[in-house]
Symmetry: D2
């Protein structure tokens, strides 16, 4: 089921960018949770087009409808079906793509795999697919919050070659700090520079990428299933399943490879009455299982493939040609990707929470 994610809290997304609608079916949501379309909408509004002057100006409201699974305001344990109608479509803008492959897009690979494709706006490979993920993630996040006060916070730490200073990221940012700027970097000076850079590349018809960091606090020790379903393995899969991602690292990540063991190991101590680590180079996970420290990981996003400059490519017959995108695109996907990273994180964590309870907390021998 390539369009499904999660073992116990399972989502199945569907829909093409320029079809009638996109949506998600959530299977396995616990019964009795109070949830409204408005609560879900809050997260969708964080990812929708047109929310600021550094994202695509497309005018899509992305209003979510709950079609099933909720009765008199509460989940019933039955599948939750959510739908968002597509709007503000200008399919004519894509006529050229019927014949030509956009560089570093999925046009060629979809054609190679399936023998045909919906060329309008990338069809299924469009980031509109992530609407269902964000909607489902909003529900998962609420459950985690109610169950244990789990709090997930993603934010932009790098855009192009502009990075937030390490000391600025020393503490867990508040939601307000993240939402304070359009670029969702909680360090105001860095955010200002990032915004300026995004506007500059946009004016050149170009694009930039960057890095999102995600942290989770309130997670108990014990989540994650060795050996293949390690918590970091499932997070890595979740993140690399997002459009435009090229890398994932947890804790010390790639830079930790330059330390010695004696510098890298996290010593244990007893603090606040429980076993804690003095440092957190592990990023909250050891042996694939959460250790009760803050979960910390980072995701690399490439520069947006759609640029307004003319590019060399081939058409579906293989003949050399040229292509220039027009119109309304994100010069940098990171600001809108922040709620998507959070959503995928919540989906992974809730699924593992339920698995941990099923196997290890249900039976007391």
């Amino acid at each position: 089921m390539p369009n499904s994610f999660g073992k116990l809290f399972t989502i199945t997304t569907w829909g093409e960018s320029h079809g009638a609608a996109v949506g998600v079916v959530i299977d396995g949501c616990p019964a009795g949770l109070a949830i409204t379309a408005d609560e879900i909408q809050v997260e969708l509004d964080r990812r929708r087009p047109g929310q600021s002057d550094i994202v695509t100006p497309r005018k899509e409201e992305d209003r979510v409808e709950i079609l099933a699974g909720v009765f008199e305001g509460k989940t019933m344990g039955t599948p939750i079906s959510l739908l968002v109608r597509n709007a503000d479509q200008r399919p004519g803008a894509y006529d050229e793509m019927r014949e030509k492959f956009r560089p570093s897009h999925a046009d060629f690979t979809y054609q190679a795999k399936y023998g045909l494709r919906d060329h309008r706006g990338g069809g299924r490979s469009s980031a509109r697919e992530t609407i269902g993920r964000v909607a489902a993630g909003a529900i998962a996040a609420k459950i985690l919050r109610l169950a244990n006060g789990v709090e997930t916070r993603a934010f932009v730490t790098q855009v192009h070659d502009i990075s937030a200073p390490l000391e600025a990221l020393a503490k867990f940012p508040t939601l307000a700090e993240v939402e304070a700027t359009a670029v969702r970097c909680p360090h105001p000076a860095t955010a200002a520079a990032m915004i300026e850079r995004i506007k500059a590349v946009r004016s050149e018809g170009d694009s930039v990428g960057g890095v999102i960091e995600c942290r989770v606090r309130g997670l108990p020790a014990g989540l994650g299933e060795p050996v293949f379903d390690r918590l970091e393995a499932d997070l890595a899969k979740a993140m690399l399943s997002l459009p435009a991602t090229k890398g994932f690292e947890i804790g010390s990540g790639f830079s930790g490879t330059r330390l010695k063991g004696s510098e890298h190991n996290d010593a244990f101590e007893t603090r606040d009455g429980r076993v804690r680590t003095v440092t957190n180079r592990s990023g909250g996970v050891q042996g694939g299982i959460s250790n009760g420290e803050e979960l910390v990981f980072r995701v690399a996003f490439k520069p947006t493939a759609t640029i307004l400059q003319p590019q060399k490519t081939v058409d579906i017959r293989g003949a050399a040609t040229e292509l220039a995108a027009r119109g309304r695109h994100d010069p940098c996907v990171l600001p809108r990707a922040v709620p998507i990273v959070e959503a995928m994180t919540s989906l992974v964590l809730l699924d593992h929470w339920m698995r941990q309870h099923a196997q290890n907390q249900t039976f007391k021998f």
Copy 2:
């Protein structure tokens, strides 16, 4: 099934480090493949202890037995059961770990999750678990080779702060080049420096990490299942499911985040009669689907957690204490991790190969 991996070519590993044996059951292997224990042994010998003077000197032969699924030299389509007996165990060496948590190991998290654990050598969290992966990967690799000449090559590109020069990695290394040195870096001068460094840190009772790169050639366009089972997502999960890994990146990875779209995009051209990309910053995958270019990704390994220097920690009652490992450990896991990375890659690719055929090549409308 946390101990299983793969949807159509599925492996299930079992076994603790100091139990009677470790093993793997392979479900879904095509029938009719000629395979012998000796062919599997070749790969196990590349990961076994004691193979060189920079890895652990433990004396385990790791001889594989085929218990089921092969008849008169051929696979039958039934589950293949492989077993390797554990040997050269000195469980007494672990008595101290019954009471103390080793820093940056899985001792504490297993205890937190399950309420008990096998303290001898890490039990299930030991890298001995990967024996089953390597054995199964040897079979998957043979099928891929027979089916399309697919060739997978992993090698060490960085140890501590020593990296192979980029130009040294311009071409696909031969197996002989990789196997020429104990550290499995195909650039001889770099390999010599790496070996020297590993010996130096070992003499200090310390350890180092590094980076393994993996490349695959011969892969057709069309492998990978959007949207969640993208090829890079499944590779990321496979790699982060390995002990000691902290990061994964494909193609341009984290460094690609510093390019502009106009610099990063891979232009298409027709070459050798088929659609090719001029550059390969995508790393062989676009939209989650292979594009027929070389697959290129990298994996970050932290320094070995086991070091011979005394470290601060707590015991199972939370009291502060100190711990120093003794004996026989890998000062750097990367040389032995090379065949493991290759094995996981083959497992992911064969699984996607079978999925691609089931859905998209079985029916011609």
Copy 3:
């Protein structure tokens, strides 16, 4: 994923009886299949209310909409999302059920499991859930027909104590013969008696059950996956997952238990140039794998639980009370269940077809 069925051709159904809509997401449908809403509608019309004078007179058109997965008339390999709006709802008719458990319905068990329920028309336990199955089954059936001329035919062989004579079922009935009568029994004299009986029990406010037989021809030898995913095991699960079913038997079934081995075994012979069995007590399956003979199985349906006579029950507080259904119900579910049995059969067979190709026909060693 309790609301999903199938490993490679996977359906996920959603929706409550009196919610906004019911629907299905199909994941894994091969690309390139020409399909229209009208083709799907044909099968939905065979299961919809109001189609004859022996089924419920509810007026629901059950018009299917294709929301995703089909572009310019062809499937794209992406998820197909189908939706049917609910209509002609009289939720007020169910006010009494908010407080009372209907005997032999799922009211009590849903309440026990989830702690709450949608009391209107059974909510998720309603047979309206099968709309998605029938819609998906129509697509699966078309693929099987195109791939190998596979033909699936279900029909009613018993209603209450009226059974079609064995000799009447000697041959594979045509679709026209099945559709000739409202009860979908291909033996006209028996059909007439069944219809009379159904009308008689309806006039008493009572209900009846019966047996549906299903046969499949055109199936090659080799479908079915030992040991757990035997073809008959997956068919049994599919049938017992339908509302109101109480039994499943394949080939000789329960009556075959009264034969000796020498009477029951199906001798092999070569006929029409291929290996065939002389008899077919196996029902087309041996060792869990199709043998190329006609697939033959039967499904037992209990009498409709909803009857218009007053029945003793308890309310949600456990107090004794009485309940009498009103209104518009099927006095016998079998006529409308015929296309549902066919749909589930097609879903099982296509899934196994794809699995057989992935594992055993993709690689030729």
Copy 4:
């Protein structure tokens, strides 16, 4: 994973009849359960050959070894690997089957599916495969017993045309009553007649089938996952995945199709302080979910396919020939199938128990 069963408590069986060994890997077993090889052996002894004078006289001890997953007498939450060596093999006895297909066995279908097969004793299609199921079932049964006092009891109710009288089955039989006779029918007079019949057909070189009933008490209301993973659907799949089974029915089953709704419905009442049904035609399940009443179902087994009389068949080239089995076979599989039916029942129930806890008892909103 066709050789795996269960979603949270998952077993994977492996091994051919005349290979080195058969075994099972159990993934998802809760940690902390005290279990010994001897406890598992008790159930294996109930299914092993040579246990009485009405089963095959083969001399296999079927001693189970625990290779992994248990440490110092307790499960660790890691995979449990169990192995039974094959013994008393007379592979020469099967030379003829290399060339000839045994009627109503899986020889032809395995050959058709895989293109080759292990002809010795049926290879993977042999009932020896069920050893792993019984071993795993013993563990599952212990957990269910400890968790809620759940008790599962299967027994033979029919052999050939000899059935136990209904009144004899009115109460839940004790284990001692079932084990009192070699045929495992708790009604002594019927058991004597069954044993006589089995000996009579054996002396003719023939075989017989029959029916096993299985009951479970102590099960709470709420187990079972609508809509596809209904409890009866998963039980039906489990039973039809056993060799030689041809039918499954729950509660009133096929005979219930001859009742009217007013006769068939189970009225609710409050009894012993909880909601109960007056009758139990539902067999303990309504809407796919357990209702707290006794679970009651029946399984049809065909007569053993192996008979000592000569039978017409074809060889692997399709030429007509004749075949007569020699030697040591069960003239009736039912006595040895009783612990197998119980094992599969425990596996289904424990899996659903864990699923119910994960989704519906973990979170209290």
